[in-house]
């Protein structure tokens, strides 16, 4: 359940942002980009975030996650392709880490990030 640790880091980062920036308005959405190779369950991350986001600045905001791809690269024949999880119907990835062209084990690039890309605010009521 490392999603809880990641949600804790996310909340810390957002509170730090709120402290540094006097953003007017209510935080509605937190957009994240998470690499495809990260073993992060989005559902558990969202649940952990809801549990942790009780602070006034974060309360009521929701997480929107976009997955970013990892690229597979064959060191032998130079084949490049977006890495695909072979079978999504199971909760684990199957070892397809070999080059479809020549069978060599591929290197993976990217797909390991966890980044906040955007915060969406609703302006504070003028009343």
């Amino acid at each position: 359940m490392h999603e809880f640790s990641i949600a804790t880091s996310l909340v810390d980062t957002l509170l730090e942002f709120a402290e540094k920036n006097q953003t007017k308005g209510k935080l509605m959405e937190v957009h994240l980009r998470i690499g495809a190779l990260r073993a992060i369950s989005i559902e558990q991350l969202k649940f952990s975030y809801q549990v942790l986001a009780k602070n006034q600045f974060l309360n009521g905001s929701r997480l929107i996650v976009k997955e970013s791809p990892a690229m597979m690269h064959c060191p032998k024949c130079g084949f490049r392709k977006e890495f695909e999880v072979a079978d999504d119907s199971y909760h684990f990835t199957l070892p397809t880490l070999s080059c479809p062209e020549c069978g060599t084990s591929v290197d993976l690039e990217g797909g390991d990030e966890v980044v906040i890309t955007k915060l969406r605010f609703q302006p504070a009521s003028k009343r």
Partner: protein
């Protein structure tokens, strides 16, 4: 001329976005780099030992320490959810140990290692083994600042341990297939496990071990380059 009401303007009540590019795990990465720098300053090699619960991580570290303690100055950081059982087992070898209890977390992180390193006399050490919490998923997400990763699996975990956790093996420098003496009883063929590991990560060295009979221990040491 367009009338005022025809012009599309942004309303004051419209939502607004703040674009960012903030790495959430930066804090852990930075602490891991700081740990690494601190270890290098003191000329220490650190090995992160990972594997599932009961695979034999502690037994393997104990076996390695028993062979190396005469020639290398070693300390062991033991990560567990609770208890000091593992630190006590390693402590019986007479090397300094630090027990790190994560309480509720399923992995060590760079901050816990920073605190553990502060408990050790780094200038008196050459080699540190860091035993992560038994888990084949979460620890891979949190770099600690070590030089190499040793993953320990055992035949008692069945034939599919490797294919179920590809990322853990993709990042490993060495893999020990432990409890090799029980392979027949378990009906698990170690060469199939070895084949799965090599397919995921041809660069990893794979060693079959039996810690109770000290089989494969020297090979683990040389695969890590710490002999």
């Amino acid at each position: 001329m367009a009338r005022q009401e025809d012009i599309v303007t942004s309303s004051e009540n419209e939502v607004f976005d703040v674009e960012l590019e903030t790495d959430i795990l930066k804090a852990n990465k930075e602490l891991a780099l700081a740990n690494h720098a601190k270890l290098k300053e003191n000329g220490i090699t650190a090995i992160d030992v990972m594997g599932s619960v009961g695979s034999g991580k502690t037994s393997l570290i104990k076996a390695v320490v028993s062979l190396l303690k005469g020639t290398r100055r070693i300390a062991v950081i033991e990560g567990d959810v609770t208890t000091t059982i593992d630190a006590d087992i390693i402590g019986s070898e007479g090397v300094p140990t630090v027990q790190v209890n994560t309480g509720k977390e399923c992995h060590l992180d760079a901050n816990l290692i920073r605190k553990a390193l502060a408990r050790l006399e780094l200038s008196n050490l050459d080699l540190i083994f860091i035993e992560n919490v038994g888990n084949l998923i979460c620890p891979a997400e949190f770099p600690l600042g070590s030089d190499k990763r040793l993953v320990v699996i055992s035949v008692t975990e069945g034939p599919y341990m490797v294919v179920k956790h590809p990322m853990m093996f993709h990042e490993a420098n060495s893999v020990a297939i432990n409890k090799i003496d029980l392979a027949d009883a378990m009906g698990v063929n170690p060469s199939n496990l070895k084949r799965d590991i090599s397919q995921l990560n041809p660069k990893a060295t794979v060693v079959a071990t039996d810690c109770r009979r000290m089989i494969g221990i020297r090979e683990v040491i040389s695969s890590l380059g710490v002999g």
